[in-house]
């Protein structure tokens, strides 16, 4: 078993893989830059399990944190409010400059 790809505190980009079917990454977080809050362990991929493929590899799962103000333009709550969500490793990339969420909206 290899070490998780991302450390707590790492900045990650949530990818939009465009997959159909039983996908656990909701559209509203795709394309967002987030911060890794914790590593949750490795789990079989629900995208496989839902279709009876039980022997796939286990995939690292992270909880990541996103500012509500970045998720929802015009968010009405406090500027400090945020959201945490679980994201599988294959939906993540290291956040690089220029990714959506790196720059404030026009």
């Amino acid at each position: 078993m290899t070490a998780p790809r991302f450390a707590v505190g790492a900045r990650v980009l949530i990818l939009d893989l465009g997959k159909h079917g039983h996908v656990r990454i909701p559209h509203y977080v795709r394309g967002q830059v987030a911060e890794v809050e914790r590593y949750c362990g490795a789990y079989r991929n629900p995208e496989d399990l839902a279709y009876g493929r039980y022997d796939g590899p286990r995939i690292d799962l992270y909880r990541v944190r996103i500012a509500q103000a970045a998720l929802w333009p015009g968010y009405a709550g406090d500027a400090a409010d945020d959201l945490e969500i679980e994201v599988y490793d294959h939906w993540l990339a290291p956040a690089e400059a220029g990714g959506r969420g790196e720059t404030p909206p026009c």
Binding site: P26, G41, P46, Q68, G77, D81, L83, E86
Partner: protein, 197 residues
């Protein structure tokens, strides 16, 4: 054989369920008591179990620390087996309030709390709890002070969540049973505070 009838006569799905049950018994896949055991496992958990976990955490700092480190192990100490997943316990403080939603379906720690409230599975709650959580809380009767940071947890994948609400003022010296009565079902997902009854 049990005959199931709806208003229009035989209920197709009930009959199919009964037929499948009988076949599984005949083939020896299920023993007669297996379904009863499964139904009992589904119906026994309830929010009172979660309330007792919280009350213990309020009176026992060592237990609280273990519960926050590993929710499932903490619940197991009180005899509640959380079967479906890891359990992450989210502590509310004067500066931070936690709210749980499953936007994709209705993930909920059912083996501890039983079935979720009707509004938790509604599309309106699932859509709005992430987008305008303070308005949703206010509609549920809880106006969160502006000074308290709100953290929404989308229970979207492999973990389950339990909110540890703040102990209400005026409950100093209360025993665990009296404290548990302050903790309603909605407080365990952050949709309400704990309140003195």
């Amino acid at each position: 054989m049990l005959i199931c009838e709806g208003e229009a006569g035989g209920d197709y799905y009930a009959l199919m369920t009964e037929a499948m049950h009988r076949l599984l018994l005949e083939r020896g896949v299920l023993a007669p008591e297996d379904v009863d055991t499964l139904v009992a496992d589904l119906t026994a958990p309830n929010s009172g179990w979660g309330a007792r976990v919280v009350a213990r955490a309020w009176v026992d700092p060592g237990f609280k620390a273990r519960l926050l480190a590993d929710g499932r192990a903490g619940c197991a100490e009180l005899g509640y087996p959380v079967r479906e997943a890891q359990l992450v316990v989210l502590e509310n403080t004067p500066a931070l309030h936690n709210l749980v939603v499953c936007t994709l379906c209705s993930c909920y720690p059912r083996s501890l709390l039983g079935q979720p409230p009707w509004w938790y599975v509604s599309k309106a709650y699932r859509a709005r709890a992430v987008r305008e959580p303070r308005a949703v809380l206010a509609e549920l009767g809880y106006v969160l002070p502006e000074s308290v940071k709100l953290r929404v947890h989308d229970s979207n994948a492999d973990l389950r969540y339990l909110v540890l609400p703040m102990r209400p003022a005026g409950t100093e010296g209360w025993d665990e049973a009296a404290l548990a009565a302050c903790i309603g079902r909605d407080a365990l997902v952050g949709a309400a505070p704990a309140r003195v009854p």
